[in-house]
C-alpha cells in the first residue's frame, strides 16, 4: 500500500484536482464513503431482485459523487453500471458492485489515516 507520506500526497493531489482545500475535500470524502456504504449495501438486494430502475438511480448518485470528488477508478465503473441499468441490463452488476466495495474500502483506509 505504500508509505503514509505517499497517502498524504495523494489526498492533497486529489483535492487540488477538484479545486478544493484539503480539509474540505477530506470531509466531503468521508461523507461520500458513509453514503456509498449504505447505497452499495442496498444495491446488493436490488440487483438480486432485478430492480433495474432502483439500481440505476442508486448507482447514478454514486457516480455523480465520485465524479465530483475526482475518483475515476470508481466513477468509471459506476458509469458503466449506470448505462447498463438504464437499459434494464443487470448482467455483471454484482461483480461491478463488489469492485466498487473494494475500492471504497481502500478509500476508507486512506481517509482514516488522515482524519485521526
Amino acid at each position: 500500500m505504500g508509505s503514509s507520506k505517499e497517502e498524504l500526497i495523494n489526498l492533497r493531489q486529489m483535492a487540488e484536482n477538484v479545486g478544493l482545500e484539503e480539509k474540505e475535500y477530506l470531509s466531503l470524502l468521508v461523507l461520500f464513503i458513509e453514503m456509498s456504504i449504505c447505497h452499495l449495501n442496498e444495491l446488493k438486494s436490488d440487483i438480486l431482485k432485478g430492480d433495474s430502475r432502483k439500481v440505476y438511480e442508486t448507482i447514478h448518485t454514486i457516480r455523480g459523487a465520485a465524479e465530483n470528488l475526482g475518483i475515476p477508478e470508481m466513477s468509471e465503473i459506476a458509469k458503466a453500471m449506470e448505462l447498463k441499468a438504464r437499459k434494464d441490463v443487470l448482467e455483471g452488476a454484482e461483480e461491478a458492485r463488489e469492485t466498487l466495495v473494494e475500492k471504497l474500502a481502500y478509500l476508507t483506509e486512506v481517509s482514516h489515516l488522515r482524519y485521526n
Binding site: V18, L20, S27, E57, G64, N68, G70
Partner: protein, 654 residues
C-alpha cells in the same frame, strides 16, 4: 436529512438571495452549501422532492437548484409541479445534472430556466457562481416576495395544489395495488393514482379532464352511474360484481363518498382480469379431472378382462413345447395383451396416478435414454440435448416418466412430417409462489425439462384442448388422443406442472416441472422374468370371478395350494380358521362390503405378522400407498405376469 437554513456570515454583501438546493447526493449538498454560503447566499437544502414541497409550504426561495435523477419525485416532475404553483411562477430554476444532455430533456417544457452540467467541483462552482451573478445584475422585477393569490378554482389547479400539500399521502396512494379516483359529485375526475392510470390505460392529463363514466363500457355505464349516485359504502368483495371498462378490462368498484361540502367521491377500482384468467384455468383443470375419474373406472374393468386373457394364455404356454404349432400364436396373444395393458396404463395414467413404484431417479439419464431409443427409429429427426450438469434428483415411477417423454417425442415427431429438430433441455429451477396459480403445487425446488420441436405449431384453440383425453388433431385411426392426456395425468400424479407454449407455424415447447428430491440414487434391482416355482399355501381374496379362476390356476401351476375368498368378510373367516396353514394373502384392494384396507386391518388383528400382497387394477397412489404403509409386504398391479407374480410371492415368503 432535515432542511437547514444557514445564515450568511457576511452581512456586508447585498446578496441575501435565498437559494434552495435539491439533491439526493449528500456530497453534492454539502459542497453546494459550503460554496454558496461562502459567497454570501442564504441556503436551504433538501434531499428529495417531497422535502422540497414541504419547505415550499412556508418558504419562498429566489433560486432553486435541483438535480434531475432522484427517487420519489424526479427533478423533472418537481420542476413542473413548482411551475404550476401560483406563487412560484417567478422563481429561477436551475437544473444541475449529469444526464440532462444525455436525456435531451426539454428545459422550456419542464419549466427550468437553465441547465448546468455536473462535473468536477471546480468547473461546476465556476458555472454556478457565474449564473447566479448574472441573475443579480439583471433587470428588476424578477423577484418579488408577494404571494400571488389563486386565480381560479378549476379542478386541475385544486389537484395540483392537493399534490403539493399532501405529498406524503401521494406516496401511500402511489404504492397501492388498487386504483383510486377522486371525482366531483358530477363525476369529473380530479385525481387518479398511478394504479388507476394504469388500469384506465390513458395518460394522466386525459383522465383529469374527463368524466369517470366515460371510462366504462356502454353496457355497464348505467349501472356504474347508479352505483355512484347511491353512494353506498360497500365492503370490498373479491367475488362481487364486475364492471367492464371501454378498454376491455373488468374491474370491481367500491364507492366512498366524502362527507364535505363539495360532496366529492372516492372511487376504488380493482383490476379483475387476473381473476378471470385464473377462473377459466381452474374450470379447465376441473373438467379434465372429471373425465379422468370416468376413464379410471373403465380402465379398471378393462384391466380385469386383460388379466383373464393373459392368465389363460400363460397357463397354456406353461406346459407347451416351443415346437408346438400354437406356441407362436399364443406368444402373439401375450404380446397383444401387453399392448392392451400399455393402453390401459396410459388411461390409468391419465386418471391421476398410475404411480406404482416410485424411486429416486436422474432425469438426465431418463431423457437421454428415451431420446436415444426414439431417435434410433426416426432417422429424419435431429435430437439436440442441453442438460444441466448437476441436475437435482426426482422421485418418480420410472416407467411412467419414460412414457411421458416418449409421448412428447411422438407428438413432436408428428408435428414435423418430413423431419425436423427436437430440442431437449433440463435445468434446476426454484419456483416461487407467483408462478404456481392455479396449479395446486408447493413452491420450492423443481427440475425442469423442456421438449421443443420445430414443427407446425398450434393455434390458441388447439392449445386449450391439448390435454383433453380423446382430443386429437389426427385423422381417425392414426392417433388415440390418449398420449398427451396421460402425460398430463402422470405429471399431476407426481405433483408436477406441465405447460405448453406454441404459435401456429412456429413449433411448440412442452415444459415439465417435477419436484426435486433430497435423496440420492440407489441402483435398481432387476425384475425377473423367470418363473420360480414354490411351496406353500396362499389365500386369494378377490371379488371378480374371472380373476379368481385364472389366478387360482396360475398359483396352482406354480406349486401353491390356494384358498379363495370372494369378499373381505369371507377372507377374515377363512383366515381365522386356517391362519397356521396360510403363508401369504393376496388381497384385492377394491371390493364390495369391507374394502381391502379394512380387510387388511382385520387380518392384522388376528395375526400382526400376516404377510399380505396387495393387488389392484388401479394405481398405487393414495389409498393403496396408505395401506402399504400399514404393513403390506408388496403391491402387484393387474394384469400380472407370471414371472412377476412368482417373484413377489417368493420375496414375501423369504
Amino acid at each position: 436529512m432535515e432542511s437547514q437554513i444557514l445564515e450568511t456570515t457576511n452581512k456586508g454583501l447585498n446578496r441575501e438571495k435565498k437559494v434552495l438546493v435539491v439533491d439526493n447526493n449528500p456530497v453534492m449538498l454539502s459542497f453546494m452549501n459550503n460554496l454558496l454560503v461562502s459567497h454570501g447566499y442564504q441556503v436551504l437544502t433538501a434531499d428529495d422532492g417531497l422535502a422540497v414541497l414541504k419547505i415550499l409550504e412556508t418558504q419562498r426561495p429566489d433560486v432553486i437548484i435541483t438535480d434531475l435523477i432522484m427517487p420519489n419525485i424526479s427533478g423533472e416532475k418537481l420542476c413542473r409541479t413548482i411551475r404550476k404553483m401560483p406563487n412560484m411562477k417567478d422563481v429561477y430554476v436551475i437544473i444541475l445534472s449529469a444526464v440532462a444532455a444525455e436525456h435531451e430533456s426539454d428545459l422550456v417544457e419542464m419549466g427550468a430556466n437553465v441547465c448546468i452540467a455536473k462535473g468536477s467541483f471546480n468547473k461546476m462552482s465556476e458555472r454556478i457562481l457565474t449564473t447566479l451573478d448574472r441573475l443579480d445584475s439583471s433587470a428588476p422585477h424578477v423577484f418579488t416576495n408577494e404571494i400571488i393569490g389563486i386565480h381560479d378554482t378549476s379542478p386541475r389547479d385544486i389537484a395540483k395544489e392537493l399534490l403539493s400539500l399532501k405529498s406524503h399521502l401521494e406516496v401511500i396512494l402511489s404504492s397501492m395495488s388498487e386504483g383510486i379516483f377522486e371525482i366531483t359529485a358530477q363525476g369529473d375526475i380530479i385525481y387518479a393514482n398511478p394504479t388507476a392510470i394504469c388500469i384506465a390505460d390513458l395518460p394522466e392529463e386525459m383522465l383529469l379532464a374527463s368524466n369517470v363514466l366515460e371510462l366504462f363500457d356502454e353496457i355497464d355505464r348505467m349501472k356504474v352511474d347508479k352505483l355512484i349516485k347511491n353512494g353506498e359504502k360497500a365492503v370490498p368483495n373479491a367475488n362481487g360484481p364486475s364492471y367492464r371498462l371501454v378498454n376491455g378490462k373488468d374491474v370491481s368498484l367500491n364507492i366512498l363518498p366524502i362527507k364535505d361540502e363539495e360532496k366529492k367521491i372516492i372511487v376504488i377500482l380493482k383490476d379483475l382480469s387476473d381473476r378471470k384468467v385464473l377462473e377459466a384455468r381452474l374450470r379447465q383443470a376441473h373438467k379434465i379431472e372429471a373425465i379422468g375419474t370416468l376413464a379410471g373406472g373403465i380402465a379398471h374393468d378393462f384391466n380385469n378382462l386383460l388379466m383373464g386373457i393373459q392368465g389363460y394364455a400363460s397357463l397354456i404356454l406353461f406346459d407347451m413345447n416351443t415346437n408346438h404349432p400354437h406356441y407362436e400364436k399364443l406368444k402373439r396373444i401375450e404380446d397383444h395383451v401387453r399392448s392392451g395393458a400399455e393402453l390401459t396404463k396410459q388411461l390409468l395414467g391419465f386418471a391421476r396416478g398410475g404411480r406404482y413404484e416410485v424411486a429416486v431417479a436422474d432425469l438426465n439419464e431418463i431423457v437421454d435414454k428415451t431420446a436415444t431409443m426414439f431417435g434410433r427409429t426416426k432417422k429424419e429427426i435431429m435430437i439436440h440435448r442441453k442438460f444441466e450438469e448437476n441436475l437435482w434428483t426426482v422421485e418418480v415411477d420410472r416407467g411412467q416418466i419414460e412414457q411421458v417423454f416418449l409421448n412428447l417425442y411422438v407428438n413432436a415427431w408428428q408435428a414435423m412430417p418430413g423431419g425436423g429438430d427436437i430440442y431437449l433441455e433440463t435445468a434446476n429451477v426454484t419456483i416461487n409462489k407467483g408462478y404456481l396459480k392455479p396449479f395446486y403445487v408447493k413452491p420450492g425446488r423443481y427440475v425442469k425439462v423442456s421438449v421443443t420441436d420445430s414443427g407446425v405449431g398450434m393455434d390458441e384453440k388447439t392449445k386449450e384442448r391439448i390435454f383433453e383425453p380423446f382430443f386429437t388433431t389426427k385423422e381417425m385411426g392414426r392417433g388415440t388422443g390418449l398420449g398427451l392426456a396421460s402425460v398430463y395425468g402422470i405429471i399431476k400424479g407426481h405433483n408436477g406442472i406441465i405447460n405448453v407454449y406454441s404459435e401456429k407455424g412456429h413449433g411448440a415447447t412442452f415444459t415439465i416441472y417435477l419436484p426435486a428430491s433430497e435423496k440420492e440414487i440407489v441402483k435398481e434391482a432387476q425384475v425377473p422374468t423367470d418363473v420360480v416355482k414354490g411351496e406353500g399355501t396362499i389365500l386369494l381374496v378377490d371379488d371378480e370371478e374371472m380373476i379368481v379362476e385364472v389366478s387360482r390356476e396360475l398359483l396352482e401351476v406354480l406349486g401353491y395350494r390356494v384358498h379363495v375368498a370372494k369378499n373381505g368378510r369371507d377372507a377374515v373367516e377363512i383366515y381365522k380358521e386356517k391362519q397356521h396353514e396360510i403363508d401369504v394373502v393376496i388381497l384385492d384392494m377394491i371390493m364390495p362390503g369391507i374394502g381391502g384396507g379394512d380387510t387388511f386391518e382385520a387380518l392384522k388383528s388376528i395375526n400382526p405378522d400376516v404377510r399380505v400382497i396387495l393387488s389392484s387394477g388401479y394405481s398405487i397412489n393414495g389409498k393403496a400407498k396408505e395401506i402399504m404403509n400399514r404393513g403390506c409386504k408388496a403391491f402387484i398391479q393387474k394384469p400380472f405376469q407370471m414371472g412377476d407374480l412368482s417373484d413377489k410371492i417368493r420375496k414375501v415368503l423369504d
